[in-house]
Amino acid sequence: MNIQIGSASKGILLATGVLLISACATPLMAPEGADTARTKLVALQSEAQLANLAPVEIRDAATAVAAAEEPRKDTAYARHLVLVADHKVDIARARAQSRLYQDQRQALSEQSERARLEARTMEADRARLDARSARADAESARMGADAARQDMLALQRQIDELNARETDHGLVVTLGDLLFATGSAELTGGAGPNLNKLANFLQEYPDRTVLIEGHTDSVGSESSNFLLSQRRADSVKAYLVRQGVSADRLATSGLGQGSPVAGNDTATGRQQNRRVEVVISNVASSARSN
């Protein structure tokens, strides 16, 4: 139609003008969806904590929203601008939110560092306690074993010291006649150390009971020898009681000349026969009972 330039130039001009004017005159409204973008933008801007974290993105989004809000006849262009604006608002929010998470992470990692440190300290304390108690356990076990061994050794040592013989019916300690004056049941001064060892031993092993047997040589009458042997056994018992050994544990018997250990025909033999034998019972638990 534009090609017919010849006659009706006025008409054409008019027509063109009408076309142009009509383009401008159509009542135009803000494109659909622009309001949604605006609402989202305003919401984001009002969240100060987020808004401060993405100022550039938010400014960008605001520009896009303003452009999208312009009424346009070209609906395709308007739709395009709305989509872009809407996405830019979403992008701004996502960026701001990511940065907020990053900021929070700082605090979180400080907290967990503190907590971890605390946990480590606790663990170390606990480990130390555990180690201490384990050590104590080991120590006490070792001490127990040691003690048992020590007890055995101590017993052995004391047995050795007492000059005791181990026999079926117990330990036998022979106290020679040197402890007594001839014909007397009185202990001599020399008796002390030997009998003290015996007393200590009995105090150390309170389960053990003792039979104190007096023996004589064949010199003198048998009855007097019985009496003498009994008295000597009794003096040993009395001495031990004085040393703190309970009398209940101490039995005595005077055996006279009936159980010689050597011949009575020599002085040496007779000397060996004049003796007090202390028979210490064997008990299952030789250890001190505390």
């Binding site: 534009n2 090609i3 330039i5 130039s9 006025k10 054409i12 001009l13 063109t16 142009l20 070209d74 395709a76 262009y77 395009h80 989509l83 872009v84 996405h87 830019k88 979403d90 992008i91 996502a94 960026r95 939110q97 990511s98 998470y101 990053q102 929070q104 992470r105 979180l108 990692s109 907290q111 967990s112 907590a115 971890r116 605390e118 946990a119 606790m122 606990r126």
Partner: protein, 137 residues
Amino acid sequence: MFRPVQAIAKRGIGGAPLLVAAAVAVVSLGACATVPPPPTQALQAAESAITNAEQSRVADYASAELTQSREKLRAARTAVQNQQMREAEFLAIESRVHAELAYAQAEEIKAKAVNDEMQRSLDTLRSEMNRSRGAPQ
């Protein structure tokens, strides 16, 4: 294509009406006939936004936006082949914002996941500590 016509029409209104009308007509026709250059820059920007999103393992988090982005880039290329350059430019720009949103959302989700994980392990640590302290939880 819309804007040049308007501009020239406005400028011409002062002088000889006939000439102007003719010019407008010619320009309008010419505008329809000549093909504007393809929106190379917008297409490249969309491509690089998609690459960026892909590298950020967006597919795991914000795949809907990324899918739309790819579809629009494809549509934009088709529009270029069809010599619909204006539409191609819109599509390219939209492809880019879809990809950028996909990327931003993926980053957000990842950041949140990290924080949640940290919070969880912190909570666990604390409750363990409380337990071993024998305190009520």
